[in-house]
Symmetry: none
Subunit: 206 residues, 2 copies
DNA sequence: CGTCTATGAATGAATG
DNA sequence: CATTCATTCATAGACG
């Protein structure tokens, strides 16, 4: 299946800041979950009403638990390091956004408890996550202390450090013209046309 | 389990009208497209820092046979990974040699600035380079205990170092791989995997 | 063309 | 907190 990707999807390279990337990634994570849900739904529905999509001819809506994809060589085997599930990540990200301060011990515990419903997790994991998250997002803004930073000014042209440019969170508004310059296939377009909710905070997929 | 319906618009589990089915199918299709878009986008500007205008083989002994003149809008990129020019590499190596210590933030910046004379580079690149360099050289040399390095062969043998590991969360381990298993991510892919995090009914995006 | 290898990058955890 | 370490993922090139 080949996509169109004609002129429409042309994207200017080199215009996205690190922060924008993060926002994008979050959005992607959200869509991933949505799609998973839809996929599951689809699977269960398929048993009643087989669709044309190349599903498992089995019709049961089930799957092979360990599909070796084309280039995937992932081992589901033993890994000791905690890895957040996408759901957990989403929650963590939202929490991170709403309060920039370090969650105190109490808060950490709450978060850990909540997240444990979506997968294995410990308080230490949560703690570390916040530590790292903060430290790493901080590393991208440092050169902004002084206006008379002439010596560094030229860096912007070369290394193009991220410049603070987005203050919103979770919204596409600021980027859509960058992300989807094509007027016929923008996110806003897609969202507004369907019966599906266009707002993340209120969508529900029973 | 059965949703109480006040009017006919509610869906009772297991009983779906054709119309609802159609709606659902549309939703799936729409999300599939969105995800594709996001995936594509991700591929296009994968790297969080702009490496515009490609790698200029300026002064390097290398130049890409594929660099062309930035006309092929397709996905010319995927060439996102920074690759040091030979000149840069030499400098990096020499710096690494002279002070095996840790180049601090300040130093990194200097190096990056200097190397930018010989090609596109960012501080992050330099940072990563040293990071990797150190780690790599450490992994090779340390078995200097000589005689005992025979037992070192089994690296995959999980050295009983069971830290505070977490089992699985009943879902996938890393969301990113689910998201971008391959350039051709589509609903089919999601459907074929059919795996999801078990419960997703209560996540919120705020 | 498929596989292997070197290496840039991402990230959980540890250390000061 | 700021840095650093360790492990892993992903991909560009090399190789056959």
């Amino acid at each position: 299946m080949e996509r169109e990707s004609q002129n429409g999807t042309y994207v200017r390279r080199g215009v996205m800041t690190e922060e924008q990337m993060e926002t994008l990634r979050k959005q992607i994570a959200v869509y991933a979950v949505i799609c998973e849900q839809l996929a599951l739904l689809h699977n269960s529905l398929s048993s009643f009403h087989p669709l044309s999509s190349g599903m498992n001819p089995n019709g049961g809506g089930y799957f092979d638990p360990l599909v070796a994809s084309s280039s995937a060589h992932q081992r589901i085997s033993t890994r000791n390091r905690w890895t957040p599930t996408s759901t957990q990540l989403q929650i963590l990200e939202s929490i991170y956004e709403e309060r920039s301060g370090t969650p105190n011990r109490r808060r950490i515990r709450e978060i850990a408890t909540e997240l444990s419903e979506h997968g294995q997790i410990t308080e230490t994991n949560v703690y570390n996550w916040f530590q790292n998250r903060r430290a790493r997002s901080k590393r991208k803004q440092p050169p902004h202390t002084t206006t008379t930073d002439a010596g560094r000014a030229e860096d912007a042209a070369v290394t193009t450090d991220e410049k603070r440019s987005c203050g919103d969170s979770g919204g596409f508004e600021s980027y859509e013209h960058i992300l989807f310059p094509s007027p016929d296939l923008g996110i806003e377009h897609l969202l507004s046309r369907g019966e599906l909710s266009g707002d993340f905070s209120s969508y529900r997929l029973t």
